[in-house]
Amino acid sequence: MDGVLIILMDGVFYAAYLYLVALGLTLIFGVMKILNIAHGSLYGFGAYTGASLVLFYSRQEFWPWGVYLVLIGSAVLVGIILGPIIERGIIRRFYREEVVVPLIATYALFLVLDDVMKLIFGTSPYFAYQPLNLAGNFSFGNISYPVYYLIFISVAVISGFLLWAVMNMTKFGRFVVAVMHDPEISNAMGIKLPRIYLATFTIGAIFAALGGAFTSPMTSVVPGLAVEVIVASFAVVVIGGLGSYSGAAIGALIVGIVRATAVHHFPVMELFMIYLVMAGILIIKPQGLFPIEEERRI
């Protein structure tokens, strides 16, 4: 019984981490039809900024619980600074291109940002464990877990809910949905496409940075962390169906639990389990589990 609980807990936790990154990825794809490989770099920037700011904040004699706000603040900071720069500077040029060109362009961007990260933050690891230790532990059956796990999972759930609420309850959200389905008609109706694109990209960037910032207390932040996250979150997004938020959640849960099972029972399989699941689901459902319908182009 404990074994199942551990797997579930680990799986859900890993899913929360993947979901935060995949959410932005799938949002950006849904609106702009661009699969943003550089999304991993935004995650990396979030992690580095979060870690550095937490370290800085902890040295001051401030209110200790403020570190969580610092994490959120650093994610927003990264998102609203880097998001517009990347969207206006690079991504904007590729909206009219076929799907593969932006894929390669964002890959190039990813390479560039990876080195920018090294230039800004150096190559030595950052350990910002304060938020993890502050919250203490809780017992779950016979197993003790950091409370921080719960905080992390709630951040992911709240982010998903917020995005859902914005999309369904605000005028801006309805605009975004319209653009998602038909950019030309929505433009003709008076929706300003560049503004929608800029806003969605920034929101997506904030989610990626949020994932990075909240992961940073649990690992050492080292160069190369962007590479790992991007492929896993691709798997999540592709399993769930590109552009679908609920799909991303289901995909994240599937990947999370499969990975946790593999880690506990078949450690040898851990590295390729995710990809096998992804390939398996794509073989059965070529567009992912919850695809967005598209018309055929003749």
Binding site: A108, L111, D114, T123
Partner: protein, 327 residues
């Protein structure tokens, strides 16, 4: 002789001369670059029908590991046997995976090829008993026609051998580009639905392209293994596939044989960037890639073509180069 063959043998001769006069380290770089060019030519073939494979490292790694395992377990070091084994491994892996991926297009194609290569990477890392895990495998110097390579000239002989394979691939690419099959690839890129309405089984054509590209990747991977003498699972990592995509993009799909020029350029840029600004080489590669995509989407081929246009307007008609012309 037709002008292509004159040019072809001139360039080949030029490469032999270069191999003789340049220092050994540069020749080695050149050899590695040519091997990567062979692999990238497979990616390029797929790019021609509008498909980006972000997992081509798998087929080259399959070729490389097939070579290494043959040498290790069967004790065969004859280069004329182990290279075909590598090619066979490339073809086989591409045929199996191609059956699945040939149903997908665009992003899904890129992602699922990437997924397979990452799964293979995981396998190579974990199957320690077979592949040596992250330590990789060593490949002892090969033999040619049953005898060891002449002492002191091993590298040179390998370079010439690589060059022969490159010439073979270049010839095939040149023929393919001008064959009905080559034009079919462009058709698939332009509008797949129309092509299928013309009565052509698109999926089978994509599968065939995929297998051919896997064959090149296996060949390149096998040569890479023999030339470098050591392989590790990183060969199958997705960033390596990204590098092949970069090479093909830099070269430009308009002329498939430009892939070798692109590969050499990338290898040298990388080596120099790596030795002068070790933390910035990725940035330099990425920056160049972005500049190419934004300002010269046809790659080096487009730059060459417009330069040739300016020099000699008549040159333009002798090359049936493909201009970017999407529906």
């Amino acid at each position: 002789m037709r002008p292509f063959y004159t040019k072809f043998f001139l360039i080949l001769g030029l490469f032999v001369v270069i191999g003789i006069i340049v220092p050994a380290w540069m020749r080695y770089l050149l050899t590695i670059a040519l091997c990567k060019g062979i692999i990238a030519s497979g990616v390029m073939l797929l790019l021609k029908c509008g498909l980006v494979s972000f997992g081509h490292a798998l087929y080259s790694a399959a070729g490389a590991y097939a070579v290494a395992l043959t040498v290790k377990h069967l004790g065969v070091r004859e280069i004329l046997i182990i290279i075909p084994v590598g090619v066979a491994a490339g073809i086989l892996s591409a045929a199996v995976i191609g059956l699945i991926v040939s149903r997908y297009r665009e992003i899904f194609f890129a992602m699922i090829t990437m997924a397979f290569s990452m799964a293979f990477y995981g396998f190579l890392v974990k199957a320690y008993g077979l592949t040596g895990g992250t330590d990789g495998l060593r490949i002892p110097p090969p033999t040619l026609f049953g005898s060891a390579l002449p002492e002191g000239y091993e590298r040179f002989v390998l370079y010439i051998l690589t060059l022969i394979f490159v010439a073979l691939v270049a010839g095939i690419l040149h023929k393919t580009e001008r064959s009905p099959f080559g034009f079919l690839l462009q058709g698939i890129k332009g509008n797949e639905v129309r092509v299928s309405y013309l009565g052509i089984p698109v999926q089978r054509a994509v599968l065939r392209t995929f297998i051919i590209s896997g064959c090149f990747a296996g060949l390149g991977g096998g040569l890479l293994a023999v030339n470098s003498g050591h392989i590790d699972p990183h060969l199958s990592y997705w960033t390596v596939s990204g590098e092949f995509v970069f090479i093909s993009l830099l070269s430009g799909v308009g002329n498939l044989n430009f892939v070798f020029i692109g590969a050499i350029l990338v290898e040298f840029i990388r080596s120099y960037a790596f030795s002068y600004v070790p933390y910035l080489w990725q940035m330099i590669l990425g920056g160049i890639m972005l500049l190419i995509i934004i300002f010269s989407p046809g790659g080096l081929w487009q730059i060459y073509n417009s330069a040739a246009d300016r020099l000699k307007p008549s040159l333009k008609d002798s090359n049936p180069g493909v201009k970017h012309n999407d529906s």
